[in-house]
C-alpha cells in the first residue's frame, strides 16, 4: 500500500509541479484579469495538492501524529496567506504570492523529511516573517523617509557584519552566525537588504565620479569584512549586486569592466590565500570520472542527483540524509534525488519566474530609488539561487549559500520573505497609482 501511494504521489507531484510552472509563464499570455485570476487559483490549488501528497507519503513512512498536526498548521497558514493577503492588498502580485507559498512549501516538506523539528522551527519563523511583511507594503507606500536613511543602512549593515566578524562562531570554516540569548542569527542575510537600500540611496540621484568612488569604497568595506569572516558566498553576492546596481544607475559599462578586473585579481588572491577556496576550485575542475571515486561533499551531491535521475527515487525513497548539510546548502541535491531532475528544472524555472517578476517591478517603477532597490533585490535573489544550485551540481565551485525560501535557516527564510514583501509593496504602490498591470 505504502509503495503504491509513494510511487503514484511521486509522479503526481512532478506533473502538478510541471503544470504549475507552465502556468506561471503561460499567464502572461492572458489578456483579461478574469482569465489570469483563474490561472492563479489553479496555481494556489497546486500548492495545496502537492503539500497534501507530500505529507501523505511522509505520514505513511513515519506514522507520526505530530506530522499531521504540522500539516494542518501549514495548510491553515497557506490558506491565510493566499486568501488574506490579497484581501488586505488588492493590488498585490498573485503570481509572486503563489511562488512564495510554493517555494516555502517545498522547503517545509523536504526539511520535514530530513528533520521534522527543524522544519517546524523554519515554519514558525516563516509565519513570523509573513506577519511582519504585512506591514512592509504600508511602510513602502507611506514612509517617505526610507530614501533618506542612506547613512543608516550603510553603517548599520556594516556594523552587523563587523559584529559577526568579531563575535561570530565558526561553522564549516567561515563565520556566518552570531548567537544572542540562545538565538542564532545569520546577520548577512539581512545585510543584503540593507546593502541594496544603501546603494540605492547613494546612487539614485547623483552618479558623479566622486559619489561613485565613495559608494564603491563603502561597498568594498562590506565585501572585505565578509571575506575576512570567510563568508565568500555572501561576499560574492554583495559584489555582484553592487556591480549590477552600479551599472543600472550609472549606465557605464566601464565601471563594470573595472569591477570585473578587480574581481579577477581578488579571485586569484583568494585562491592562493584560502585553502578552502583552493580545495573547492580544484574539486570543481576535477573530472566526473575522478570525482566518482571520491567521497567529497560535491561527489556525495552528484551521487544523489545521478541516482535520482530524471524522475527521482520518490519522496522518502532516497538517501538524502547522506548528503552533507542536506537541509541547507545541499537541499537542491536532496530535491533532485527524491523528485528528480524534471522537478528540479521546474523549481529553477519558478525561481527564475520570481526573478522576472522582481525585475518587472523594477522596470515599471519611475522613481529611481525604488527602481534600484527592486533591481538590487532581484539580482541578490537570483544570484544566490544560481550559487547554490550551481555549486551543488558542480556547474561552478561550491560557495555554500542557501536556496532562498527552500533551504533551512531562520535568517535566510525571514529575509527572503521580507524581500518578497518589499517587491509586493512596490507592485501595490504602482498599481494603486493605476499605472501598472502585471
Amino acid at each position: 500500500m505504502t509503495s503504491i501511494v509513494t510511487t503514484a504521489a511521486n509522479y503526481l507531484i512532478i506533473i502538478i509541479f510541471a503544470v504549475y510552472t507552465y502556468l506561471g509563464f503561460h499567464v502572461f499570455k492572458k489578456k483579461t484579469e478574469e482569465e489570469r485570476r483563474h490561472i492563479y487559483r489553479i496555481q494556489a490549488l497546486s500548492v495545496f495538492a502537492i503539500s497534501f501528497l507530500a505529507y501523505t507519503v511522509l505520514y505513511l513512512h513515519t506514522e507520526s501524529l505530530e506530522l499531521l498536526l504540522y500539516y494542518g498548521a501549514q495548510t491553515m497558514f497557506f490558506l491565510a496567506v493566499l486568501i488574506a493577503f490579497p484581501m488586505i492588498y488588492k493590488n498585490c502580485s498573485r503570481l509572486l504570492l503563489n511562488h512564495l507559498c510554493m517555494l516555502m512549501s517545498v522547503g517545509f516538506f523536504m526539511i520535514a523529511r530530513l528533520d521534522l523539528e527543524r522544519s517546524v522551527r523554519q515554519f514558525l519563523i516563516a509565519v513570523a516573517g509573513v506577519l511582519i511583511s504585512i506591514f512592509v507594503p504600508v511602510m513602502i507606500n507611506k514612509a517617505k523617509f526610507l530614501k533618506k536613511w542612506t547613512a543608516f543602512y550603510g553603517l548599520f549593515g556594516f556594523a552587523l557584519l563587523a559584529a559577526v566578524f568579531l563575535l561570530g562562531s565558526v561553522t564549516g570554516g567561515s563565520k556566518i552566525n552570531v548567537t544572542v540569548h540562545g538565538i542564532t542569527l545569520a546577520p548577512s542575510e539581512f545585510v543584503k537588504i540593507l546593502f541594496v537600500f544603501f546603494i540605492a540611496g547613494m546612487l539614485h540621484k547623483n552618479t558623479s565620479f566622486r559619489r561613485v568612488a565613495v559608494t564603491t569604497l563603502c561597498a568594498a568595506a562590506h565585501v572585505l569584512i565578509l571575506v575576512l569572516s570567510r563568508d565568500l558566498g555572501g561576499a560574492l553576492i554583495l559584489f555582484v549586486v553592487y556591480m549590477s546596481m552600479l551599472y543600472a544607475a550609472t549606465k557605464k559599462f566601464s565601471y563594470v569592466g573595472a569591477g570585473l578586473f578587480c574581481f579577477s585579481g581578488a579571485a586569484v588572491a583568494a585562491f592562493y590565500l584560502f585553502s578552502h577556496v583552493r580545495i573547492r576550485v580544484l574539486t570543481w575542475t576535477t573530472d566526473f570520472d575522478v570525482l566518482k571515486n571520491d567521497s567529497s561533499q560535491v561527489s556525495q551531491s552528484l551521487f544523489a542527483i545521478g541516482t535520482g535521475s530524471w524522475f527521482g527515487s520518490g519522496f522518502c525513497q532516497g538517501l538524502p540524509e547522506t548528503i552533507p548539510v542536506a537541509v541547507s546548502d545541499f537541499i537542491f541535491a536532496a530535491i533532485c534525488e527524491e523528485f528528480g531532475i524534471v522537478f528540479a528544472i521546474c523549481l529553477i524555472l519558478v525561481c527564475f519566474s520570481c526573478f522576472l517578476m522582481f525585475v518587472n517591478s523594477s522596470l515599471q517603477i519611475k522613481d529611481n530609488f525604488y527602481k534600484l532597490v527592486s533591481f538590487g533585490l532581484s539580482v541578490s535573489f537570483i544570484f544566490q539561487v544560481f550559487l547554490t544550485i550551481g555549486g551543488d551540481s558542480k556547474f561552478i565551485p561550491l560557495t555554500g549559500v542557501t536556496l532562498p525560501l527552500v533551504s533551512y535557516g531562520g535568517s535566510s527564510v525571514l529575509s527572503s520573505v521580507i524581500v518578497f514583501a518589499i517587491i509586493q509593496g512596490l507592485y501595490i504602490m504602482k498599481r494603486s497609482e493605476g499605472e501598472v498591470h502585471e
Binding site: S3, I4, T7, F28, S244, Y247, A248, K251, F288, D289, L291, K292, N293, D294, S295, S299, Q300, L302, F303, A304, I305, G306, T307, S309, W310, S313, Q317, G318, L319, T322, I341, A344, I345, I348, F352, F355, L356, V359, N360, S362, L363, Q364, K366, N368, K371, F375, V379, I382, F383, F386, I389, G390, S393, K394, F395, E435
Partner: protein, 486 residues
C-alpha cells in the same frame, strides 16, 4: 521576458531608456540559467549513471536492490553468465553457471563487488520491465525484474584462453581490434564466484595474500613489458627516421656497451649483422639498445604518453595505470634498460592488448568495452553501446611497417611455432625478468590475426614461466585455433 519587451515597446515614453541596462543584465541571467539547465540535462545524460554507480554510492545501490531483482549477465550468444535465483523462502542467490571460467571479468556482486557486476551494478538494478508488469508488481508487492546485460564476451575464446593458460599464473585479454570489444579475459589463479561468500575470509586473509586470487591480473596486474616494449621503441625510431629506417644496420656481438654499461642479448646470442626488421623479429637486445639510444628521449616519452602510459583511460573494471619511468634526468643505463622493456616500466595485459590493437587497427585506438547492449526481461533492447575511438595515434605507414616487422616475428623470428597454422599472425614475444634472481621471467606474447584484415588481438602473459617466451605463444595459438577452427 516577452511581456517585458512588449511593455517597453508599447510604452516608449513611460519606459525611458533608463531600463536598457536592467534588461541587458536580465538577459545575462537568463543566458546563465539556460546554460545551467542545459548542463544539468547533460550531466544526467552523460554522467548520471556513472556517478550513481560509484563504489562510494553503495548505500543507494543497495536500496535499489530491495526493489529490483538483479538482472542477468550474458555472453554474446545470450548464454547466462550470472543470474539471480530466488529459493522457496524468497532468498535471492546470485548464481554463476560457469563457475571459475569467468570469475574475474564477470566478478561478484557481494562484498563490495568486482568485475562487471560492480562496474554495471546500477544498470543491473534498474528495471525497464513493461509498464503493465511494473504496475502489476506494484499492486502485488513483488519486485520488478532488473534489466539484463549482454556482454561482448565469447565463451569459446574464453574457454580457449582459460584452458590454454592451464595451471599457470598469468592473464589473457582478447579484443576485437576494430571495435575495442573485449572477447575474452582470463586471470589466474582464479576463484569460484559461487563460493565467494564462504571463501571471502580466506581470500582476504594473510595466508592467501601470496595467491591474490581475487586480483584481476588482466587489468590490475603490473608487469615489466620485456621485449614487447620494443614495439614502442621501434615506433619512436620510425617517427624520427621515417625514410632511413631501412638503412639501419647493426653488428650484434651478443652484448652492447655504452659508457661502460653493458646489456646482453638473450643467452648472449650473437645475432650478427641485423637490420631493423631482423633485430625486431629476433628480439636482439643489443640492436634495440642502440636504436633506443639514438631516439630522442622526448620522442619516446611523448609517444608513450599518447599511448596512455602514466594515465588513466575509461574502463568499467578496476585497473592499474601503466607506468613509464623515464624523464630528462634518467641515466644512460636506465634508458638502455627501458628501451628493451626492462627497468622500471610496468604495464598491464589489458594495456598491451590496446597497444597491439591500435597497430592492427591502422593506428586508431579504440575504447575497450565489455557490454554490447542492455535489454529488459522480455528481451527488448534498452540501450546499445557503440564502439568509440579514443585516439588516432599512428600513421598508416607506421602501422604498415610494424605489421611487416611483426609478421617477421612469426615467419622467421621468435614465434615461428605459429608459422604454419593455416592463418596469418603478426605479433611480438617478450620475456621480462623480474626480481633479482636470474632466470625468473614472465613470458609475454601479443599478436593479431589475420594480418591482412585483423579481427582478433591477443595479449598473453604467463608469470614466472622460467626461461624464454615459449610459454605465452601456445596460449595464443590455442585461442587462435579456437577462433578459426571451432
Amino acid at each position: 521576458m516577452n511581456k517585458m519587451k512588449k511593455e517597453v515597446k508599447d510604452n516608449p515614453k513611460k519606459q525611458p531608456r533608463n531600463n536598457r541596462e536592467i534588461l541587458i543584465l536580465t538577459y545575462f541571467f537568463l543566458a546563465i540559467f539556460v546554460a545551467f539547465i542545459g548542463y544539468l540535462i547533460y550531466f544526467q545524460a552523460a554522467h548520471g549513471e556513472d556517478m550513481a554507480n560509484s563504489p562510494y554510492n553503495r548505500r543507494r545501490q543497495n536500496q535499489l536492490a530491495q526493489k529490483v531483482v538483479r538482472g542477468q549477465i550474458m555472453d554474446a550468444d545470450g548464454e547466462v553468465l550470472a543470474k539471480t535465483e530466488i529459493d522457496d523462502e524468497g532468498n535471492e542467490v546470485r548464481v554463476y553457471p560457469y563457475g571459475n571460467l569467468f570469475s574475474h571479468v564477470v566478478g561478484y556482486s557481494m562484498n563490495g563487488g568486482s568485475g562487471l557486476e560492480a562496474g554495471y551494478n546500477i544498470r543491473l538494478l534498474k528495471s525497464h520491465a513493461s509498464i503493465f508488469d511494473r504496475v502489476q508488481n506494484l499492486l502485488s508487492g513483488t519486485k520488478n525484474i532488473g534489466d539484463n546485460m549482454v556482454t561482448t564476451l565469447d565463451r569459446r575464446l574464453q574457454e580457449a584462453a582459460y584452458y590454454g593458460l592451464g595451471d599457470s599464473r598469468g592473464a589473457v585479454v582478447v579484443m576485437n581490434p576494430k571495435t575495442g570489444a573485449v572477447l575474452a579475459m582470463v586471470s589466474k589463479p582464479d576463484y569460484d564466484p559461487n563460493e565467494i561468500g564462504e571463501l571471502w575470509d580466506y581470500y582476504t586473509s594473510e595466508d592467501s595474500q601470496g595467491d591474490s586470487s581475487l586480483l584481476n591480473r588482466a587489468t590490475q596486474g603490473l608487469y615489466p613489458p620485456g621485449s614487447v616494449f620494443k614495439v614502442m621503441t621501434a615506433l619512436a625510431y620510425l617517427r624520427e627516421n621515417d625514410d632511413k629506417y631501412e638503412d639501419y644496420l647493426y653488428e650484434c656481438t651478443g652484448s652492447i656497451n655504452i659508457d661502460g654499461e653493458v646489456i646482453n642479448c638473450y643467452h648472449n646470442e650473437k645475432h650478427g649483422t641485423v637490420d631493423m626488421k631482423h633485430a625486431f623479429a629476433e628480439s636482439c637486445n643489443s640492436a634495440f639498445v642502440d636504436i633506443g639510444y639514438h631516439v630522442d628521449k622526448q620522442t619516446l616519452i611523448r609517444l608513450c604518453k599518447s599511448f596512455y602510459f602514466n594515465s588513466k583511460f575509461k574502463l568499467p573494471l578496476a585497473f592499474s595505470k601503466s607506468s613509464l619511468a623515464i624523464s630528462r634526468a634518467t641515466t644512460t643505463y636506465q634508458i638502455m634498460q627501458t628501451v628493451i622493456g626492462q627497468g622500471e616500466t610496468l604495464v598491464t595485459p589489458m594495456h598491451m592488448a590496446m597497444m597491439i590493437s591500435t597497430i592492427a587497427n591502422d593506428g586508431k585506438m579504440m575504447q575497450p568495452y565489455f557490454v554490447d547492449h542492455i535489454e529488459n526481461d522480455a528481451g527488448t533492447t534498452i540501450k546499445t553501446y557503440k564502439p568509440k575511438q579514443m585516439d588516432l595515434l599512428l600513421t598508416t605507414r607506421e602501422t604498415e611497417i610494424m605489421k611487416e616487422f611483426m609478421t617477421a616475428v612469426v615467419q622467421e623470428g621468435t614465434a615461428t611455432s605459429l608459422r604454419n597454422s593455416g592463418y596469418t599472425v603478426a605479433g611480438k614475444t617478450g620475456s621480462a625478468e623480474y626480481g633479482t634472481k636470474k632466470g625468473s621471467s614472465h613470458s609475454w606474447f601479443i599478436c593479431f590475426s589475420p594480418v591482412e584484415d585483423p579481427q582478433i588481438a591477443i595479449s598473453v602473459i604467463v608469470e614466472g614461466a622460467g626461461e624464454g617466451s615459449a610459454y605465452a605463444v601456445p596460449v595464443a595459438k590455442n585461442i587462435l585455433d579456437a577462433y578459426y577452427y571451432d
